[in-house]
């Protein structure tokens, strides 16, 4: 009986090796979003401390919209911010923000300092809505079509290149579909 135990490490190793062999075929940089082409999760968030424009999923449906998950503690968000300001100034799209895991007041102070591109901002202090969105880190950005389905997910900051090459054409196509 105890002899059989000696085979246990080998058995474990064979299982692990098989697992690695399968895992090796997966592309590590691929981060699929199960939410693509799915309806926006229903949520209703209060306004952040110092603002009075709360955000709920109902506000978004009916037009092409951008939902940006951000936080003042997030350094890449600050890098992304000027691009969002530019989009807000130049493009015709509803820009909404989910202020993620923020202490009261910090989000508004940050926006006062850097400028505010958001038409609506929800306060997701406990991160519940971010979980529904499958957010892995800030910033993340979702493009929602007029029927309220998520069509695109951007992980990490939106740069000028990403906006021009990927997001802007998609937004224009979605707006054309919706007849906006």
């Amino acid at each position: 009986m105890s002899r059989l135990f000696l085979y246990l490490p080998l058995l474990l190793f064979v299982l692990l090796a098989a697992w690695f062999a399968i895992g090796l075929r997966h592309d590590p940089s691929r981060i699929p979003s199960v939410l693509i082409d799915q309806p926006l999760p229903a949520f209703s968030l209060p306004a952040i401390d110092g603002r009075d424009n709360p955000l709920s999923s109902d506000d978004i449906v009916g037009q092409v919209a951008l939902v940006n998950v951000f936080a003042s503690w997030c350094i890449p968000c600050a890098i992304e911010h000027p691009q969002l300001m530019k989009v807000a100034a130049e493009e015709d799209i509803l820009i909404t923000g989910v202020n993620w895991k923020e202490r009261p007041g910090d989000g508004a102070a940050w926006l006062r300092r850097l400028g505010d591109p958001y038409a609506l901002i929800g306060d997701d202090a406990d991160g519940r809505v971010a979980i529904d969105f499958g957010v892995t880190g800030a910033p993340e950005t979702f493009i929602v079509d007029a029927k309220g389905r998520i069509r695109y997910k951007q992980i990490g900051p939106i740069t000028e290149q990403i906006w021009d090459a990927d997001i802007k054409p998609l937004v224009e196509q979605l707006q054309a579909e919706a007849g906006q």
Partner: protein, 652 residues
Amino acid sequence: MIAELGNFALIAALMAALWQAVFPLIGAVRQDHAVGAGSTNSALAQLALIAFAFGCLTIVFAQSDFSVVNVVQNSHSAKPFIYKLTGVWGNHEGSMLLWVLILAAFGAAVAMTRDGSLKFITLAAQGAIAAAFIAFVLFTSNPFERMLPAAADGMDLNPLLQDPGLIIHPPFLYLGYVGYSVTFAFAIAGLIRGRIDAEWARAVRPFALAAWIFLTIGIAIGSWWAYYELGWGGFWAWDPVENASFMPWLAGTAFLHSVRVVEKRGALKVWTVLLAILAFSLSLVGTFLVRSGILTSVHAFAVDPERGLFILGILALAIGGALTLFAVRAGKLQAEGAFQPASREGALIVNNVLLVTMTATVFIGTFYPLFVDVLTGERLTVGAPYFNAVFAPLTILLLFAMAPGAVLAWKKGRLGDAFKQATPAAGAAIVVIIIALWMTWPKSAAAACAAGLAVWAGGGALIEFARRIKLFSAPRGSLAHIVGLPRSFIGMTIAHVGIAIVVVGAMGAGVWRTESVRLMNIGDVISVSGYEATLSSVNELQGPNFVSETAIFTLARNGRQLAPIVAERRYYPVRQMQTTEAAIRTTLFGDFYLSVGERQTNAGWAVKAWYNPLVFWLWFGAGLLAMGGLVAALPAPVRKRSSADATEGVPA
């Protein structure tokens, strides 16, 4: 021409390794020392050939020969000369060449030991591993590959890697990883011969210690590098690649403890052999992790599944083969002595169970994302909260067991006596807990308790040390007693104190740190824990292959003016990458650490400042660990050696 010479030398080295893998076995089977001794020469030849190939690659880098693909991809004519040289191993191909070079060096070290069938079979196993890895370099990662026509200039080395820390960090890690190939080879030899005994333990222990020392230093330097270079103020992130180096360290630490039981008591043989296989397997998995991109991480500088498959093949052969041998042969190993739970060997089993459980938790945390990905296609990451949550209780148990473990006698100890003997350590621990609570409140009370336990663990080792040198009963003779103590015991004491200091440092830098963030313009002040840094100027400077934005801060502590500190952000145009050079003021009790971020339009620079208490203790403790290992590895005084050899001859 030089690149071709290197290539040929590597092919010849492959031949030497294959020779080494086969002939010693024949020598061992025929009991023919002459055939076996040939393996000594092939091991030495292999080292010479690979060293020559490595020299060729270094010359190619030094000359900036841009007809060699590897140089083009990883060097640049404007790069400082020292980084041209260290760039040799700052890339996948070159680092694999360094890997096989170290492997050959360890093989040669084994070849220099006393002849015998244990050595010959060990060399054969070592040769087989070497052949597999040299083939890997030659067929999938050849650093000597040419490109014609030659490129005009290179693509530069990843700027994060252009740093003094990188010059020494990977070689030390590799020395550690590869060092475990020797314990692995000894385990194979022991299984084939069906003898794991005191002779085996004494032969393998210096190599296990060497690998462990190098790995300890390598991990410490890596952590130090991350601390000062990455600019996030932390020293350990449970990144997959960090875990990859930590797992063999944990398994290797367990091995160092259990091999003592084999040597002293002739027990735990099966387990010790398994640990030897495990330590090297985890080292291979470490390589595999980094090289294949199976898990993404900032460290993965060679993301390529083809290579991953090759490594998977080597892994399957080496680990699968060793475990098959283990399954078939380990049953033949007989324990020699009876076992008392309350004894040194009992304490070492507790140590082993805890260390292996730690290894398993790190393994599960590291690979859990992969398992989930394979099962459900979902991508997720396991972060520091998991590791801290499962690792902390295990560390606490380990620290708790360390004091009685160090005090207990071999064969038959009394647990009650052990605890009684360690009472002063308990007193010191309680004092430390109270002081820590008082100083750090309202931060985590658990951290204060962990620091207290560290004092308990280190204190236990020191109490036993004091007892052995009769510090209190006959203090006059104490110095003379130190000389007479076994080296392994002195080393153990130093290492246990080292671990205690590392734990205190980790609590300080990990839990008790304070931080402050603000946007700063010239003249603004950022303050944290009594330090006040005033931004006095920001200048643009031109480096050899980077542009730097240098921020100078005047620094004061509790109103007293200190020397100014300098933080930098560098931009490397060829790679379009930025690096941070944090400003750090180190004292024995804590670091003031400041890093400067991007300039926000009009608002100034984003500046983050930390006070990291006791962070220096991390590196100091790690240094003590390595020193403890070194002392334990030193040969015993001649007088002792001869008496040990005399008892060795008695059959078990």
